[in-house]
Symmetry: C2
DNA sequence: AGAAAATCTTGAACTAGTTCAAGAAATGAG
DNA sequence: CTCATTTCTTGAACTAGTTCAAGATTTTCT
């Protein structure tokens, strides 16, 4: 049951009663995505918050030069949405796409608001996970400012060894803030 | 009354009754900081979340080369804390310091938790403002990845003209991700 | 299996931004 | 008003990482 993964994740942060969990379930939708399927395209309004049960999503945009710039990834047990667009329901500047076949549970904007008033504890859960995502984003800035491309790559390989195998190198290079060719040269040196 | 500024900010996002506002006030502390006074030093545990009523705070760290790297600023009506340290009460990797004489209202960790259970609506307020801060942080990454140093500077000047006068250039340069010398050269070209 | 699409590699020429050093200008404290 | 501190500027030498282009390898699809 995909929704069970989400409940388990929620329980780690906020305790719910059986009844509350039942109620929560009625707000959730489930979806299976094929590799390369889009959840959001630049210009569209982001209408849902997505929880990855199994698989991998990426958020990216296309630069003026026409290359893809990776912003973030979400793997098992991570939420992914464009809060900028989701919050005020304005067109998004990002794409969200499945990197591999992916199962998600999602909550759309309206249901999320209803859920917050019905079960205020869910708002606590999101306060906590968004706070953690924000803290991680600040740390990412720190790495980008301080470390060289090579250092960032080595550090990333140590921190997420499984992940490095899972996404194409050019996506990882872009996420780390350098060109695909440069990543190829780093690897040539190290192997 | 400095706390009145905060109440006004909160009201923009979540409506409170008079009684609730009274209760909220009892959790808040007020403090005046002299220019260069520290709220947090690297290695200390971050015990409070700070709301700037008037003035300016900066968050930064010292790189291996011994230079200051700016992470963010907070001016009037912004919250500032190191959520990484605040959340799990581990030593911080950042400094928070007043750039000019600054008045703040602050909530310490324990009071914040108490407040969340006493008035769940305050947790909604923080969910909203942290979500906005997170969205802004993602946009900042976008600018850093896509724009050249010069473009980022010009864009920043357009977006926050008053602010550019207010902080030393070397802090702004560091915040924008390049050296103080380079900012000096950009300005020489444009004026 | 075989063709097409996607991904990775390599080298050469290049550039945005750094580093160092030293002086000039502005601001602040007594 | 003056001395000390902080901030800003400028030029020259340098480097981390880019861009372009073309070929090699791997994966995917039928």
């Amino acid at each position: 049951m995909p929704t069970e993964n989400l409940l388990e994740h929620i329980r780690k942060f906020v305790p719910f009663s059986k009844e509350e969990e039942e109620t929560l379930l009625t707000y959730l939708n489930v979806k299976s995505l094929k590799k390369k399927e889009f959840l959001l395209k630049e210009g569209q309004i982001c209408i849902a918050n997505h929880f990855v049960v199994k698989g991998c999503l990426r958020m990216f945009y296309i630069t003026e030069e026409g290359t893809e710039q990776m912003i973030q990834f979400a793997i098992d047990n991570w939420w992914m949405t464009d809060y900028m667009s989701f919050d005020v329901q304005k067109p998004s500047q990002f794409n969200i796409q499945a990197v591999e076949n992916t199962e998600i549970v999602y909550l759309d904007k309206q249901k999320m608001e209803e859920l917050f008033s019905k079960l205020p504890k869910t708002e606590r859960y999101f306060r906590i996970i968004i706070q953690k995502a924000y803290a991680a984003s600040v740390m990412r800035l720190r790495y980008i400012f301080t470390q060289s491309g090579e250092e960032r790559f080595l550090h990333f390989c140590e921190s997420f060894p499984e992940f490095v195998q899972r996404v194409p190198q050019y996506m990882l290079a872009s996420y780390l803030g350098f060109s695909a060719e440069f990543l190829s040269k780093i690897r040539a040196k190290k192997i």
